[in-house]
Symmetry: C2
Subunit: 347 residues, 2 copies
């Protein structure tokens, strides 16, 4: 049914309708003041108004500087996670599993469908940050929101352990889990670098001809570490993540080590995702990784993967997880989509 059309004219069509050819290689966005988004809940608007648009972490160059930066990044997140666990009655146990450091996270009440099942979490944090207790933040949000049991992979990180250590750890956990769990009833999920690793681990499982998960959740995943996707530039200034230049680019490089950045296990948007499990992707219109997310959605759809895209207006990178500490309907809505998606596909 699909056809190719012959290009007959260079007239650019749009609502404008009046455009004529005029080659430009870039466009100028003028400076502007952007008010709080009009289309979000009042409770999320209050969160937007409290944001500080700076990471406040200098770009490291030595191993020691990376470890200092990691401590700066992780400490407040770990504190938030541990307080949330206590407040919500979520239990967590740190233990070695298949020789990998992990957290077993169990909510106060486990839903009947999750009684004998574990969801696998791969934390975010630009590959170099977000481990140890900080990893619990999203794990707790999901465990509590879904009433599901979560194994969070506290994977080895650079600069000590660059690619592919993280993926190797996730694969080891998966193989061990498969001794007692049906793959089709198990999901893998993560946000940001964790979304990347969710996709990359699944590519690796395919390569190893291991059973694939029943579903994936890739939250605002970094899917192209080589090219700078458009929204990194267009949305700069709207996202507390700041910029790809500096810290983030350095983190991608120290994670990749000697491996070319367009390797699909580093940049899953270039991967062969044929036969991938159903995948749900979440991003926001103020998310620097919006382009990475929608590009991955197109790659999945082009391979006939059952992939769903949910975009929240005015949200920056990973904002939905703020539901862990703030009460706002958009976070509940995201959790409701995840709940439904897993319920439909993990069976």
């Amino acid at each position: 049914m699909m056809k190719r059309y012959v290009t007959k004219t260079v007239t650019t069509l749009s609502l404008a309708g009046l455009m004529t050819a005029s080659a430009v290689a870039s466009v100028t966005m003028e400076k502007r003041q952007v008010p709080t988004p009009a289309g979000v809940s009042s409770s999320f608007a209050a969160i937007v108004d409290q944001k500080v648009y700076s990471m406040g972490i200098p770009t490291p160059s030595t191993t020691e500087e990376w470890l200092t930066a990691r401590e700066m990044f992780d400490a407040p997140q770990a504190k938030v996670a541990i307080e949330a666990a206590e407040r919500l009655g979520v239990n967590y146990e740190r233990k070695s599993f298949a020789g990998v450091d992990t957290y077993f996270v169990t909510p106060k009440n486990v839903d009947s469908q999750y009684q004998d099942r574990w969801l696998v979490h791969i934390h975010g944090g630009a590959f170099v940050f977000g481990g140890d207790d900080a990893a619990l933040r999203e794990a707790i949000w999901m465990a509590d929101g879904l009433n599901a049991k979560v194994i969070s992979v506290n994977y080895r990180q650079p600069p000590e352990h660059p690619f592919p250590a993280a993926i190797d750890d996730a694969v080891a956990v998966w193989k061990e889990l498969m001794k007692t769990q049906p793959a089709e009833k198990t999901a893998i999920f993560g946000t940001s670098a964790g979304g990347n690793l969710t996709l990359a681990t699944t590519l690796k499982l395919k390569e190893l001809e291991l059973p694939l998960p029943g579903a994936l959740f890739a939250g605002t995943p970094a899917t192209d570490l080589k090219e700078t996707s458009d929204s990194w530039i267009t949305l700069q200034g709207l996202d507390p993540l700041g910029s790809r230049d500096g810290l983030i680019e350095a983190a991608f490089d120290v994670y990749a080590g000697e491996t070319p950045l367009d390797n699909p296990l580093l940049s899953p948007v270039y991967g062969d995702v044929h036969d991938f499990p159903p995948t749900i992707l979440i991003s926001g219109t103020r998310d620097l990784l919006l382009s990475d997310t929608v590009r991955m959605h197109r790659t999945l759809r082009a391979n006939n993967v059952d992939a769903e895209l949910h975009i929240y207006d005015g949200q920056s990178h990973g904002d939905y997880i703020q539901g862990l500490i703030h009460d706002f309907p958009e976070s509940d809505d995201a959790m409701a989509e995840l709940s439904r998606f897993f319920e439909n596909h993990l069976k």
Copy 2:
């Protein structure tokens, strides 16, 4: 399963993780040069590089000025449409149907599933433009791409005929068509103002307790004529549509007439979309109506409507329709999604 969390702290969590409270009501986006998107096809990149970022139409204030502006807007689009019809062998016949001016558009080959069915098209053009032969542009793109028969509603427009004339015309066509067609096998579709009217007409059909379509396609719909959704501001400079200030806002006002802009038939994002048909929405990361589109998607999902969102990286308002005259894979991909969606739901 959903819970409400108690807000315990105002610390803002994100990848940054280090944010503290600091109330701001707006953020500053600095001036920047934005290169051609990295993640698009080379053929679409060439289209981006040819765009001119100006409507070139002054904002009218009198009826005469509106009619002059309409002529400026419509003439080149009509030319493109008629040339495309000839090139693609698409036939069109203008006729009165239920007393409404319409075009019956038939492709060279009609797919077996569309032999005895018509899809209803409601054209875009900020409510005041895009009628007569210009309306054929999207109708031809769809008729040819789906191998389907299309009735395009050449609805009455402001300033002569403000709201609700357009919706009344679409409803009249629908009622007439229902005398020979099963509703569940008929879709309504449109882009921009046509996306708005697709949704508004369906709200009106609900209100009238008439049978609803089997599926909707709302392409980058204007869903909030009252509030300025975020992307109108954040993405300004990236979309040839230009700005909401001036021509577009004036067009919304002259369309609405005396009716408050938050009336759901003007701003469907505020509508009661419970029991709406399955709906597919398409937008782009450089589309000034990205926020309007994703907000509508959330409204539909919150009412458990089977609604799908597809976002194309680097695309501005309605770029996918450029597949009518340019050969680029993203337009074919959008058509493939539409084809699959209608095939799944119109039965």
